[in-house]
Subunit: 267 residues, 3 copies
């Protein structure tokens, strides 16, 4: 029914002749927008036969994100290889009109160069951003660090660690204790200190090795917020190197990796 | 029990000797206050043997409302014909003390000229406003426009249309397509456009005829907000004439009609 | 499991050697912090073999609180007699990390003189306040007023009374009618008056005697807010003397008494 309405209401956009026409559940697109919106307002979305890929870095160049959505994340995926500059906040507004898993259609209008977003009776014609005007993401191959330890834990446990640190400081030390095989987040405030330590059954998995670095709590919060509840998050850690957080989206058909640069220790 | 408490607690107001004593479920009165409060802070409420009637126009004279509550909407309706000037916000405060469908008693105190509002143990003595000091509503018979089309749709569908327009602009074109028998709301923003189109099973009924006018989105939102969820809303439309929105309240014992003047097209 | 994690994570605080180590459900501690936080930011908490006792007065010396938690409110209660100066807001922050009835451990670190707060993997080291720097509470024995009437009612009924008064004024008269055996709260605003009257089955108990005093509505709201839903509240009232509100916490293992000074009548 919703699909039928869509077909009827978008006849002007002629998806069949569009160089890019994809349909995905609203929830999948919302997660993608949340993940990217944690760091940037607009981004370059690359479409090719394998799916959609986005790489972006926040304006302060402290954190980067890499998002992949395979074609399996889409109900329809009919694209010629191309890159679109997408304004995330406006796309988020449109997606807020969808309920649950309503199918959302995105079609590039070859004449207007706009993105036609259609969901259950609603047609939204969105002006795109010139991809060349968007900051180039870093070459991720250059960011291939030697991680010393890795941890897999529930999204909720990671959130607790970050909330705990946030009570006392703007900076948190994130690390792994080799002895005890524990994931440890600590923060030192002006008067109070906090330490959140997870080991054994509180972790999904750990490859322990002594490692710790200092990170901005505000960034940790920003990266933690879009992680879907119930997810398992994989962390790769080292000493004075970026923290890597990765998790799956779209029932495994999508993959997100955040990298967060360490702060220089102030104490 | 609540009723007994009420009888006991309001003995001073002597409802039996009051020239006006009505009792209605809190939910009914709250809806009425919401409907009127969308446009005015105070209003003239006319009581007669058929029930209660209010006509009012917002200070900018862009929108008007006509509300009727039949005696069937009340548990008790014992009034001499008269008009009260009611401060809506204070009445809303008192009604917020009632839960669910608590019976609320309104009695005019013949000595103090105040309205005694009683609900479950609470007596609120409300100073009324001089009805002559309240802006005269327009003579609604003069506002008898030649509507070209009419649409009946679910309140939720209308809300979606208005929310969609609100994403891109302060003005929305509301109209009917004769061919396709569709209800269409469109809005043009600085960069993006939006179109919400409903036809067939997405509408309850339509009497299609080419018609469209431009309206303020802020007013559409204000008029849409008090419409009870699950209601059917009847729209009467034309070209460059006011939009009429009407719906039932109080399980059919009440009727609301809003009229919203068109804006002059700016593009 | 949570307990096991706790034992492991707090090994550095050596609770066994601490002069003070208690464990209580998070909900119990949260209620205590809410009750005290209504009046003060920090307070002197006295521990002895019978349990925990706090007496405090708000900075404007208008209201005081007395809180007792018996040892039965604790899962573990192993203390040497002493008084701690506790910063309530920071303790509230830590407790917000606990879910439901998670056991929370408080242990005084004999070396750092800090309070180690531990809950499910989280260790928070809290700097205490010098008890001598905290305002001395009044000697409560001097505040032994001759109350004339007493009322027991549900927390929700008291809240309604206070909300009702708050609609029209900053001051409310709280009293008891001897005839009619009723608890009555009245308030007079610039234009409107309100009266909330409870008697018979709307009260749990009443020992009626003519009595009434005027109180600040803001203070009544502050004292009412932390009262746990579903509680019975005992009021002791007189004429131009403080109002006493008392209620149980921690399933009867704790007791709270607030005393609120009357305002001089302004009308």
């Amino acid at each position: 029914m919703a699909e039928a309405t869509h077909e009827e209401s978008t006849h002007e956009t002629r998806p069949d002749e569009s160089p890019l026409h994809v349909v995905a559940p609203a929830a999948t697109l919302r997660t993608a927008v949340d993940v990217l919106g944690a760091l940037v307002d607009e981004c370059r979305v690359q479409f090719d036969e394998e799916g959609l890929h986005v790489a972006a870095m926040d304006p302060a160049t402290v954190a980067s994100v890499s998002l992949d959505l395979d074609t399996a994340a889409f109900d329809t995926f009919d694209v010629e290889e191309r890159t679109l500059g997408v304004p995330l906040e406006r796309l988020d507004d449109v997606l807020s009109m969808a309920s649950g898993d309503d199918p959302v259609s995105l079609a590039l209008d070859p004449e207007t160069r706009r993105l036609d977003v259609a969901v259950a009776g609603l047609d939204y014609s969105m002006a795109l951003v010139d991809p060349d005007a968007i900051r180039s993401p870093p070459d991720l191959d250059e960011l291939d660090f030697e991680y010393e330890a890795s941890v897999v834990l529930e999204a909720e446990a990671l959130s607790r660690s970050i909330r705990a640190a946030d009570m006392v400081s703007n900076h948190a030390t994130v690390g792994v204790e080799e002895e005890g095989e524990a994931f440890v987040v600590t923060a030192e405030g002006d008067t109070d200190d906090v330490r959140h330590r997870l080991s054994g059954e509180d972790l999904v998995d750990i490859d322990a090795c002594e490692a710790e670095s200092l990170y901005s709590v505000d960034y940790l919060r920003a990266l933690d917020r879009p992680i879907p509840g119930g997810s398992e998050v994989s962390l790769e850690l080292g000493t004075e190197i970026p923290l890597s957080l990765s998790f799956e989206v779209a029932d495994g058909a999508g993959h997100v990796e955040y990298a967060l640069s360490p702060r220089i220790a102030r104490r």
